[in-house]
């Protein structure tokens, strides 16, 4: 719509309507904090942010559109039940809205000021990865899904609740591969099953073992050993961890799950020596648990869905 005499009219329409949408978002977010299960409130917040996103893209305000998009995708995961509403989530939403307001004010005043919203975009990304949640609002009796229940076959490791005491403490599933201990956030894990024969798939990356049929779902299985480029050793055929990603299930072959632990995110560090030559891209960091070195994996990178799907 460039160089049209209507541009000014369109801009004014955008500024006026987005002010109203933001007002609505703020009011609804506040109510949502005390009524986290109110679907209509949530839909209303989603609708307003979605409209701002679309409108901003129509008049070429890319930064606004991008921030609105990032915010919207977190709301989308909340709607799907993949992210629970906690104080922390609401705070991040408010923060994103503040930045949207800065952006909009800046544009309406024709200012050239540079606004750095990367911090809040990063926070939104972390929410999407299930990383920045404090679990303080989760009550296992209200919603079984919120309680992060997973069953680990053959072991009595049923997690009854995901309640933890501090904001920066998170539940992780720890498992072994050769002599090393790895951890993946429990938020990403659907269940752990005993190894089962998989069907080979032609023309896929070496680390894709094949597919298994899990109660009717066809699940690709990755050999973690091959994915991490372990030299030597063989898959012991222990267990398969089923990870939920974007509504898809992907299996991760590993030796054995040994426990579910609460780890303090503040104490997760990046350390060159501790990575022992493993690819940085897969590892979020390293921490210690009972004198054992634990490597925290990034399931997102590990699973890179495109590579899996494109070659199927």
């Amino acid at each position: 719509m460039s160089e049209s005499p209507d541009d000014k009219v369109y801009l004014k329409l955008f500024f006026d309507s987005s002010d109203e949408f933001i007002q609505l978002i703020e009011n609804n977010l506040m109510t949502l904090e005390s009524n986290p299960t109110d679907k209509e409130l949530l839909h209303e917040v989603f609708r307003c942010i979605h409209t701002i996103k679309g409108d901003a893209s129509l008049i070429g305000l890319e930064r606004i559109s991008r921030l609105a998009h990032e915010t919207e995708s977190v709301l989308d995961l909340i709607r799907d039940g993949d992210i629970q509403i906690t104080g922390n989530v609401i705070d991040t939403m408010f923060e994103a809205i503040e930045f949207l307001k800065y952006h909009i004010r800046k544009e309406s005043e024709g200012s050239t000021e540079e606004i750095d919203d990367e911090v809040v975009i990063e926070k939104l990304h972390r929410l999407k990865q299930g990383m920045d949640n404090d679990f303080t609002n989760i009550d296992s009796t209200d919603n079984p899904k919120e309680a992060a229940q997973i069953e680990i076959q053959g072991k009595d490791l049923r997690i009854k609740e995901a309640k933890v005491h501090k904001d920066n403490e998170y539940r992780f599933v720890l498992f072994n591969l050769d002599h090393m201990t790895f951890a993946i956030s429990i938020n990403n894990i659907q269940e752990v099953v005993d190894d089962m024969p998989s069907t080979k798939v032609p023309y896929v990356e070496d680390y894709i073992e094949g597919v298994i049929n899990l109660r009717g779902y066809i699940v690709p299985v990755i050999s973690l050993r091959k994915r991490l480029n372990f030299v030597g050793g063989m898959d012991k055929g222990g267990q398969i961890m089923i990870i939920l990603k974007d509504n898809d299930r992907i299996g991760l072959k590993l030796d054995e799950v040994h426990s579910v632990e609460t780890l303090d995110r503040e104490k997760i560090h990046i350390s060159e020596e501790a990575l022992l030559g493993l690819d940085h891209a897969f590892i979020e960091g390293v921490t210690k648990k009972d004198d054992r070195l634990v490597l925290i994996l990034k399931p997102d990178v590990l699973l890179e869905r495109n590579k899996l799907v494109n070659h199927r």
Binding site: Y10, L13, H43, D55, S57, L58
Partner: protein, 122 residues
């Protein structure tokens, strides 16, 4: 193009841009509404005067997919184009299955809209 159009969108900016494009192309705007409940009601009331509906997916009250279903149930020959800022694939699929004629995603431009318009109404 002598076509009468009902615009359904919760965004004043999108409404304005769409109606400007349609009017410039010689179309008539039957009405512009911002919510799903009014959209379905107005279509039912003015079915014979409406050649085409542009329907936003994310609406207050009743969302676009529900409105589409209601319109198609009432008038299986209705011509509805969905409009949205980037849709999830499955929602687009669902709309097309229910009977939407086409799909416009934002950001759109005049040429894209007019091409779809002529295609859908020919």
């Amino acid at each position: 193009m002598n076509i009468s159009i009902l615009i359904v969108d919760d965004s004043p900016l999108t409404q304005s841009q769409l109606s400007d494009i349609f009017i410039e192309a010689g179309c008539q705007i039957v009405d512009q509404v911002t919510d799903g409940i009014s959209a379905a009601r107005i279509y039912k009331k003015n079915k014979d005067k409406i050649d085409l509906v542009t329907l936003d997916i994310t609406l207050p009250g009743k969302d676009g997919v529900e409105v589409l279903k209601e319109i198609m149930a009432f008038d299986p020959s209705a011509k509805v184009i969905m409009v949205s800022a980037m849709g999830k694939d499955q929602i687009i699929q669902e709309c097309l299955q229910v009977g939407a004629r086409n799909f416009i995603t934002k950001p759109f431009n005049k040429d894209k809209i007019l091409a779809i318009l002529s295609y859908v109404t020919k």
